[in-house]
Subunit: 437 residues, 2 copies
């Protein structure tokens, strides 16, 4: 009987993360202090981020960074995640391509976000902190951080975009089950929130506002720091566990990918699955294509500019050298909430500039069509974000049908859609539309 899934024994789970910054021929440009426009050092990030995360953020020398034993132990609660051969999808498409996916949806919180949440919570605990804060939109990252904080005995305060807090109660409940304090943002609990509510009492919230509130709470609270679920280089670093496992698992399957695909919001799951393979492209010239599947309504990679910009709407963060639609850009209200971000992380921005990767723009209806096809073929209802990677994968597999090429395509299934079923409901009812800019 043909093998469907490849799983590593616990002792085979990688013990180091891969830091692509050390191997990049052109290093990312520095983060700048918006006041002085001077490059920022790790210490400059300490007031907001954990010290170890700050150091990892700017580390351009060490290719491999040890995963702390306690984090590895917590990884074993759900890792290795399976590498799955998508026979069902191949048959549905009648393609000669071999399609594999890395199933990150099996984590207890339903997505890959936990890979970095566990690391960030661990470092916070090691630093002697008692509390962490963050923002969340639809709630995947907030759920992961709430869970990780609980495991390491930290209190978590999550600012959730108010409209999501009200419209997506399931992920809010899950954060609360894990014991987190969840506050709809904008709130009266911070200066930033009060100012916004005074100005506009019916404000529905945005990620920018929620970040401002979470950062402010971290700055004002002793023993408390801020955590972030994407964009930053240390988050991509933690996510490389995905690609490192996949590399070993592809070897078990006796194959190597010609194409690696991931959805793209800030870049952390994309970096997580592609960087370990890309090191062979950088160091050995191995020819592999890396495709970032971004929403056509938020096309920072294909239609953005490479320039220094803020990471948040309010302009509180350092200036980041990145492909951006501008930090005031208002993404359309697509259901893939995790992809509604104006910029790209500094590493992926540099890689795109250097021609090491490419991007595909996916329209909302095409993403859900792909998600439903995948669900029927493989049985897993994918998260709206993951549907973008599936669409790009299907497009590549259909090209193989035309050309007869037996390419090996690997994509990252970042999460399942069980808590996003209202989006599918609306898709099936014909109530969704495409947005483009």
């Amino acid at each position: 009987m043909r093998q469907k899934r490849y799983i590593l024994e616990e002792k085979e789970i990688p013990e180091k993360w891969y830091n692509i910054q050390a191997d990049m021929k052109t290093k990312p440009m520095p983060l700048l202090n918006p006041q002085t426009r001077q490059p920022m050092r790790a210490e400059d990030l300490f007031p907001v981020f954990c010290e170890e995360c700050s150091r990892q953020e700017l580390n351009t020398t060490d290719s491999w960074i040890e995963i702390p034993e306690k984090v590895r132990e917590m990884y074993t609660y759900y890792r290795s995640t399976p590498l799955v051969r998508a026979y069902g999808l191949e048959e549905a498409l009648d393609t000669p391509a071999h399609i594999y996916f890395k199933n990150e949806s099996v984590s207890p919180v339903g997505s890959h976000k936990l890979n970095s949440a566990l690391a960030q919570a661990y470092y916070a605990k090691e630093e002697g902190l008692t509390n962490v804060t963050t923002e969340t939109g639809a709630g995947q990252w907030g759920t992961a951080l709430s869970y990780a904080a609980r495991l390491f005995g930290l209190e978590a305060a999550v600012y959730q975009v108010k409209i999501s807090y009200e419209q997506k109660p399931y992920r809010r409940s899950m954060m609360q089950v894990f014991g987190a304090q969840v506050t709809p943002s904008p709130s009266m609990s911070t200066r930033a929130g009060k100012d916004i509510l005074t100005d506009c009492p019916t404000h529905q919230g945005s990620l920018g506002t929620a970040i401002s509130e979470a950062v402010e709470l971290a700055r004002m609270t002793p023993g408390c720091k801020y955590t972030l679920g994407s964009v930053m280089s240390h988050v991509s670093l933690h996510q490389t566990i995905i690609g490192l496992e996949a590399e070993k698992q592809m070897e078990m399957a006796g194959e190597y990918p010609d194409v690696v695909v991931a959805c793209f919001g800030g870049g952390s799951n994309f970096g997580g699955i592609t960087f370990p393979f890309m090191r062979h492209t950088i160091l050995e010239g191995r020819k592999t294509r890396y495709i970032a599947a971004e929403p056509a309504s938020c096309p920072k990679l294909t239609k953005g500019k490479f320039e220094y910009d803020f990471g948040d709407e309010a302009g509180y963060t350092p200036l980041l050298p990145m492909f951006t639609l501008g930090h005031k850009f208002k993404p359309a209200n697509i259901h893939a909430g995790g992809l509604r971000y104006h910029g790209a992380g500094v590493i992926v921005s540099q890689l795109l500039k250097d021609g090491l990767m490419e991007a595909a723009d996916i329209r909302q209806l095409d993403s859900f069509e792909a998600g439903c096809l995948f669900a029927k073929a493989e049985g897993i209802v994918p998260a709206p974000e993951s549907c973008h990677a599936i669409r790009a994968t299907i497009d590549e597999a259909l090209k193989c049908r035309e050309s007869g090429e037996k390419k090996v395509i690997l994509f990252n299934l970042t999460g399942h859609g069980m808590m996003d079923m209202s989006a599918y409901d609306q898709y099936l009812a014909g109530n969704l539309i495409n947005y483009t800019i």
Copy 2:
């Protein structure tokens, strides 16, 4: 580093189900035709159930039944499921007991129901059928059948209890993503539904009504048969894949359970995990306790009578020899919808009568308290049904803390609660109550 999870290689996944009926010293009493009160033969079940399932239902001679290769192939989409050592829970309880759980929540539909749905859909396809019908309450079984039907190219019609159809839209959406036709019951599409609606236009539906509609549709439609998600002996048979895997995995962990615990609705997940271990009790006298955790509000095992009763409210099924609260019993509106059933399958009823197993009654608030404790300790938010098994496990582990005994406890985590978060919401808000009878 201590090992957390045990997973079988695909070639180690069992190739046969275990049929405990063949080894029982006292066989279950026969099913009776309600008109003639004569024992039913397999052929008498053919008009409603698939022929192979009907034969399995009454098979008291073959201990092992081959799992068809195509079903085994579909099992590899999510099996083996992990056997997990619950270190986090052990630490939270400060118990010397070793706690393991079989994590059936990792199936694509989030529960163990798929183990039988795949088998039933396969046999339907093999028999040349084109359609299957079923009923569902909260939707775990309906989702599993919709998925399985899709994989085998069958059309599925699911009658969902109307109040659940309206209150739990996520599982309905999931069935629709898999392409099933989902109808709120009672409906105007059947004689049974019409009669009920004529009598009471605002009827909210019940499992009994939905069964009647699904059976009627199967009887009236050429090429269509009915499927059921629990109670029947062939469903328990298919679920033994759980215990057979667990037996191998416990061996990998170098342990053998002193106590095996499962929640109890109709008995199929309970039988699934316990029967393979119980064969060693029956055949070799191995001393293991088997605990069925049923809701205190629906205590058929502890407060029911052993007698011939109907399997459905309307009295359409054969008469079954079982522990029952009476087929007109109206279970309280607890959130563990899968446990709201008046009777117990005929095999488990006989085993209870023979003293081979025991039962524990769990109150709703105690079940959710246990579920929240488990979520914080192990990271998985359990289904409300599974919370009952967790509560009974915790109670046993706490006894070990008192006595100092290092018992090995294994329980079945039937599903996750990601689509039941509104129940947790209400629990956390203090809006749930205990029901007893």
